[in-house]
Amino acid sequence: MRGPLLFKDIDTAGLTSIATYRQLGGYETLVATLGKTSPDECIEIVKASGLRGRGGAGFPAGMKWGFVPKDSPKPRYLVCNADESEPGTFKDRELMEKNPHLLIEGCALAAYAINAHVGYIYLRGEFEYIQRILDRALAEARAAGFLGRGIAGSGFDVEIHTHLGAGAYICGEETALLSSLEGYRGQPRLKPPFPAVEGLYACPTVVNNVETLMNVPSILRHGAAWYRQWGTEKSPGTKIFSVSGPVRRPGNYELPLGTPLSELIEKHCGGMRDGLKVKAVIPGGSSVPLLPASLLDTGLDFESMTAAGTMLGSGGVIVIDDQTCIVDALHNITRFYEHESCGKCTPCREGTYWMVEVFERLEAGRGRAADIDLLNDVSDNILGKSFCALGDAAAMPVMGAIKHFRDEFEYHVTHRRCMVNRRREVLAGVAP
């Protein structure tokens, strides 16, 4: 048993088949809820459970469901965000790969709660093989009467489709995802109107992360109080953390929210390998500021992370060792954002390009003393001025890195090389 909730049965052989899933109690919640608990009651239970979105922003899921207007004559849609594009995050992949039916059950329950009859699972372009797994599972569920007309013996109809994106990071942003799903260019839309009011095809839409939806069946089954046995008051429940970097056992770990970061690294991941020390940790996917080693005791929950100057984000924990050059690491991250900037707004489109140019100068040993402040200033000019959070995601790590590791940047300028020797190519096992 790798975790108390989502990872409880995750490694059971043959879990992708509906038979195994049902043996372990699968779809029982669906049968027990539909037609017996009213949609409003479902929303209330999820609200009471304090379940917060697991995609990164941590918005309370029940509240989001509650925003869907009850009197709208338009159809409603449920969209599962399975784009999982945040670098360092690979939890949804394992969840969907190994337990697709739990997602389907979660989707069906969420659709019931918001009275949507159509749901879409939006997968990133690279998840083609997961689409096959999901499609097979959807077919099984349909055959077993858990999807389609009058599911699970109730009068409720729901159909769920998978949709493959074209592999853009921005399509993890919910409005860009909806644009992409509609067949348009994947670019974020103006909010308000929020998707709950005007989302897919300008109809009320709820967009939830895979992990969020997978929590729904057990919450509806066991109740809010039961769910709150894990985690903290404001961040209840468990969360899956995807740990990467030079730790002994990288991988996905399901832990109650609030678990200290040091416990995750030392106890669960077995500490650092090759005698390396932790220099910094990016705790929530590449778009959050990094946490220096001195703050490793911070609890992994939304509030503590914000207090420490970073964010819990998607739970993609990237451990950076003391032999990794911070300038190089940030160059890598910035290149990613430059490549993935959708180009809609000026600060993100032009700012990330400029940052990469400055980073390249620093890396090539042509850096100038003014470059560090320039980088900070460019980031500051992006921060809060971009259309969506992508710009902030590109700016915050750089500003955080300059704040905590200014000496490494200065070393690059004065010595025209890295302060530490190991570059990412070595780390990745690729010749430099």
Partner: protein, 893 residues
């Protein structure tokens, strides 16, 4: 929510309607907030971020009232991040700072970002001098660049003959892409790639497949899209700008002509001005070329010894006057006729008919030379509500349901089409397009309903729609005469059940019922019709049908009219208003109405003929038969526009005197006895009246080309030579007489007609004439229905004079449905021969699924197409036999 909000912007408090965007509120408060991606006709995007401002809202106490601090002023909570003014809607008590350090820093940051990849090629760029980025960089930017690395580069492209793209300069505001999609309905532009590599281009990087309107160039705030025809021609400060009215279609768009020296170098729209604002269609933007044409006539010509020889103006006037006097003396005033005039300004049209009626004493006046049958002058007026206040083009965009009857707006009225596309895209307007061809607006993309009636079944369609509309009940607000006539109308159309209409028209019964229901139920609606109905052989019947439909569906009411007539020329409406029809004096006063005639007779000091004159098709016949001996043709290539070419040739040959007022030595002018060279639209001033019946004063942009003068001066000179004492010094003098005399125009002041004058309406609307439309007899003979129309690029007789428009239009093709072509054994590009009752025409064929089977579409405005050689349409139209040219040759041999 209150209807208005108080907003304080940089200390200026203003009250604006709720739902106003901050950018608009700032404009109202006279505070400059820069914009790039925001555009008045497009929904907010918030992409460029240049309009960032600081926004604060009053903090509300627990009672919902604004909290006050100890000094009694409201406490303001400032938003943590700067907000984009172009996406923020005002709220009551909102505070905005545009010059605070935070706002200025943010704006400077965005400006710096915009310049990161923007090249420093302003000296070469055509936008230089009128570039918004240049202006804002000057106003807000730094004077040096912190970015000194290589900029990303693209290769420049020509996107067809109109648009030059220099993507390096692009700031990705997406205005062009959105304008093309949401207003033009063309979707020709798209963004390739993403991020900093985003590049605007066509989908396949091939030349743009679109209307070539160039509006993308107009809305581009930088020099990323520039106009190839204007490339490097001038800098903006070289140009004198003159705003005048476009001479092409009846929409009456304002065009801003840029003139350097004596030459017009470009035409543009004007933001916040005119009915069209910045919009121009391809003809409006590039169709001015004929003005600069070297082949323009520069001297009056008089026939002597079989050839036309240049003479002085006075000699030509004397010649014309003497001959007119001779003809009138020998054969009576009824032997003189006046044709054309839809391209004249209002004042000129007025003087033209005054010359005919008051000086020569004839009512043989008709501007509508294309008509194939007589149509009462009042028919159009009655179909559009008898002179009641008419909806405007702007109102058209706010309608819920719009029915377009038989008109291809793309060719005939591009701006109205753009208004409809925008309404459809942004405001949920529904389109019903009744047209045998699948015209642009009938394409599925616009989600309307296409009533694809069979050619010749127009009357049946109207009757079916009237019946279906009446089934929905009696509309409110009918005048008493209409209300009294409704039972009879109900009776008259009773037989036109949806099923019967379906049988007659081929339009599904369900679609007819639904269209009528939508029209009757809409709160705001519009019916548009144009030349396809007015130039129909059965036009008198069809127009009565349109009028009946207007009353039956509620589009016409005692207070207002929602039925609009799209005339063929920019001043068709003005010509009609000024009485360039045989049976009406100016202001729709019947010539037989003695009391109505009186003021005119007093003012003009003449006795006016009381008998209605001959209409254009009747004049054609009378002249060919020698009953009309003298003809004056104004601004009309009659040999091409008259319904029957052979008859027109005969008429011109038979006349003792043919006077032609023209810009060019046209085929018609070549057969004249006197030719007066006249000014183009850009060289004279005067009032024109567009399809909304709006009066606009068009300004003079350039001096008249050497040897030319305005038409009204020619009319006055001839009138004076005939012995009357006219003494108008300017067009304004003429307008003053109109404003004294003509109903609907009384009391109008020349000064108030710029930039946008009022829409006129009659104090006493004309009485309605309800009734069913009679079906014309199908034309005799075998063959395909001949469908014709203007195309987007060529319309009328001037557009083919330039270089660009004929190039865009390509050669004329006879368009056939692929199935029809297969039956005929014709492949794409094969030469086909069209044989009508009077003659033949040879054209290459084009396969087009948008043309219905059983018909052939031929554009009429190409120089090489002389449709009237085929013979005049009669009954309900014209049929032509189409066959491959090879076979035709063999048969002929």
């Amino acid at each position: 929510m209150s209807a208005t909000c108080k907003v304080t912007i940089d200390g200026h408090t203003i009250e604006v309607p709720a739902g106003t965007l901050l950018t608009d509120a700032a404009r109202a408060a006279d505070v400059h907030v820069p914009i790039f991606c925001s555009h008045q006709k497009l929904p907010p995007l918030g992409a460029c971020r240049i309009c960032v401002v600081e926004v604060g809202l009053p903090r509300r106490g627990p009672d919902g009232k604004p909290a006050l601090d100890s000094a009694g002023t409201p406490v303001v909570t400032w938003m943590p991040k700067p907000q984009t003014a172009c996406t923020t809607y005002v709220a009551d008590g909102m505070q905005v700072r545009t010059t605070s350090p935070e706002a200025v820093t943010a704006r400077k940051g965005v400006m710096e970002f915009l310049l990161v990849n923007h090249p420093l090629d302003c000296p070469v760029c055509d936008e230089g001098g009128e570039c918004q980025l240049q202006d804002l960089a000057f106003a807000f930017g730094a004077d040096f660049s912190r970015m000194d690395e290589a900029k990303r580069t693209f290769v420049s492209e020509d996107l067809g003959p109109v648009v030059k793209k220099e993507a390096n300069r692009c700031i990705v505001c997406m205005r062009c892409v959105r304008y093309c999609d949401e207003i033009m309905g063309d979707d020709a532009l798209t963004a390739h790639q993403r991020g900093v590599r985003t590049e605007i281009s066509s989908f396949d990087r091939q030349p743009l497949d679109c209307e070539q309107c160039g509006n993308c160039i107009e809305v581009c705030p930088v020099g990323a899209l520039t106009a190839l025809p204007y490339r490097f021609k001038a800098r903006p400060w070289d140009l004198r700008q003159h705003i005048t009215v476009c001479p092409y279609c009846a929409n009456g768009c304002s065009v801003r002509l840029g003139v350097r020296g004596m030459e017009i170098l470009r035409a543009r729209g004007t933001e916040h001005r005119g009915v069209n604002q910045e919009y121009l269609c391809v003809r409006g933007r590039f169709g001015y070329e004929f003005v600069n044409d070297a082949e323009r006539l520069s001297s009056p010509l008089v026939r002597s010894g079989g050839s036309l020889t240049p003479t002085g103006f006075d000699a030509a006037v004397d010649f014309a006057a003497a001959r007119l006097r001779e003809v009138a003396a020998a054969h009576g005033p009824g032997a003189v006729a006046f044709l054309g005039g839809e391209k004249l300004n209002l004042e000129e049209a007025y003087l033209y008919q005054k010359l005919a009626r008051a000086v020569l004493g004839t009512n043989h006046v008709d501007a509508r030379t294309r008509f194939t049958a007589r149509l009462p002058g009042e028919a159009v007026l009655r179909a559009t509500g008898g002179g009641r206040p008419l909806l405007s083009l702007e109102d058209l965009g706010h309608a819920e349901e719009v029915l377009v009857l038989g008109d291809d707006l793309q060719g005939e009225s591009p701006f109205a089409q753009a208004v409809l596309v925008r309404g459809q895209h942004q405001a949920g307007l529904h389109l019903t397009i009744a047209h045998p061809r699948r015209v642009k607006l009938a394409r599925p993309k616009f989600r309307g309903e296409w009533l694809a009636y069979r050619p010749g079944s127009e009357a049946a369609l109207l009757n079916g729609l009237v019946r279906a509309a009446l089934e929905r009940g009696t509309p409110d607000g009918l005048p008493s005469d209409v209300a009294a006539g409704l039972p009879a109308l109900r009776q008259a159309v009773a037989e036109w059940t949806p099923a019967r209409t379906e049988q007659a028209t081929g339009v599904p019964a369900r679609a007819i019922e639904a269209a009528a229901a939508r029209l009757a139920q809409a709160r705001r609606r519009a019916i548009l019709f144009g030349r396809a109905f007015t130039e129909h052989p059965a036009a008198a019947d069809l127009l009565r049908g349109i009028e009946s439909l207007g009353w039956a569906s509620g589009a016409l009411s005692a207070a207002r009219s929602e039925v609009m007539y799209i005339g063929p020329q920019h001043d068709s409406q003005g010509a009609l208003d000024m009485g360039l029809v045989p049976d009406l004096l100016p202001g729709y006063v019947p010539v037989g109405d003695a009391a109505g005639r009186k003021p005119f007779e007093q003012q003009w000091a003449a006795t006016l003929p009381a008998e209605p004159g001959l209409s254009a098709p009747e004049i054609l016949r009378a002249a060919a038969e020698g009953r009309i001996r003298a003809l004056w043709i104004v601004g009309d290539e009659w040999l091409r526009s008259a319904p029957d070419r052979a008859l027109a040739e005969q008429a011109l040959a038979a006349c003792d005197l043919v006077v032609v007022s023209e810009l060019f030595l046209t085929e018609t002018a070549r057969r004249a006895h006197v030719v007066f060279p006249v000014c183009s639209f850009a060289e004279k001033e005067g009032v024109v009246v567009n399809c909304e019946r709006r009066l606009q004063r068009a300004a003079r942009a350039i001096a008249p080309k050497r040897g030319t003068r305005p038409d009204w001066e020619v009319f006055q000179a001839v009138a004076r030579a005939l012995g009357v004492r006219w003494s108008f010094r300017t067009a304004e003098d003429v307008f003053r007489e109109i404003a004294r005399l003509v109903p609907g125009y009384r009391g109008r002041s020349w000064a108030t007609l710029v930039p946008l004058g009022p829409q006129w309406a009659l104090e006493a609307p004309a009485a309605a004439t309800l009734g069913a439309a009679r079906e014309g007899a199908p034309p005799a003979g075998e063959g395909l229905w001949l469908l014709s129309g203007g195309t987007l690029f060529l319309q009328g007789s001037l557009s083919h004079r330039g270089r660009l428009l004929p190039k865009l239009a390509k050669a004329a093709r006879a368009r056939l449905h692929p199935a029809e072509a297969r039956r005929l054994g014709v492949a794409e590009g094969d030469a086909v021969e069209l044989a009508g009752p009077a003659g033949t025409l040879r054209l290459p064929a084009a396969l087009d699924v948008e043309v219905p089977e059983g018909s052939v579409f031929v554009p009429y405005a190409h120089a090489e197409v002389e449709l009237n050689r085929l013979g005049a349409p009669a009954g309900a139209g014209l049929k032509v036999v189409v066959r491959p040219a090879r076979v035709a040759e063999r048969v002929g041999a």
